[in-house]
């Protein structure tokens, strides 16, 4: 049984409206890459220009953020749930009122 990826609402439009999909891989990084390969329009929102996962995209394997495990090398096993959770960030570029 493959790994299930939970897709945040903001990205479902790029995955045919699905809330979750199945993907194969031995690590969190591999299953996310497989997901992005299956749905190419989603890749630009997950990866930056260098090919690195965008800093505000958090990946949970079960209840654990992979930042506290082995990052994208965190192993996954059949039946695991991988959740993509964005952190929302932003702000003004400076303090000078235009």
């Amino acid at each position: 049984m493959p790994v299930t990826i939970q897709i945040p609402a903001a990205l479902r439009a790029f995955a045919n409206g699905q809330t979750e999909v199945s993907a194969e891989g031995a690590t969190a990084g591999e299953v996310i890459a497989a997901f992005a390969e299956a749905y190419p329009d989603i890749g630009t929102h997950l990866y930056d220009e260098t090919g690195a996962l965008r800093s505000f995209i958090n990946v949970y394997v079960g209840d654990a953020n992979i930042k506290n495990l082995d990052g994208l090398d965190t192993p996954v096993k059949d039946g695991d749930s991988v959740m993509l959770v964005p952190a929302i960030a932003g702000g003004a570029p400076g303090s000078a009122w235009a």
């Binding site: 990205l11 630009t44 506290n68 952190a87 929302i88 960030a89 003004a92 570029p93 400076g94 303090s95």
Partner: protein, 157 residues
Amino acid sequence: MISLPDEAELAIRAEGERAYPDECCGALLGGFDGESGKIVKAILPIGNSSETAERFHRFTIGPGDFMRAEREAKARNMDLIGFYHSHPDHPAEPSDYDLEHALPFYSYVIVAVEQGAASGLTSWEMSADRARFLRESQNQGQNLEAPPRTPQGDQSP
């Protein structure tokens, strides 16, 4: 288009003034209408999780608060449809930093706070190619539902 009730707009302005000179932030809960677009039915203030020294020009809603906002929306039969934040002493226009950290689909409401007083308020949605923010037209919509709880800033890693 986004329907933002007067009550929601006033609440966001008040949040911006309360947080000044730091940035405030929170979630927009509501739904969708085929003709009207997004409809804000409640706002959910969220503590700014950015480093204290950075809050004058940065806000962060961490993954824990994001998941809590989604659960809150689901519990109230709503959707998480966007976010708001303030720009202290800066116009209500998205910054490059906003664009770099945005996702499509969501509405991003920005309120300018000039010397402690809220002024311009705008709403934006990122283009699907991540190239720019597109300004959303706003109307006043319906009254808000009862205000939600105010969670603390994200403590998740």
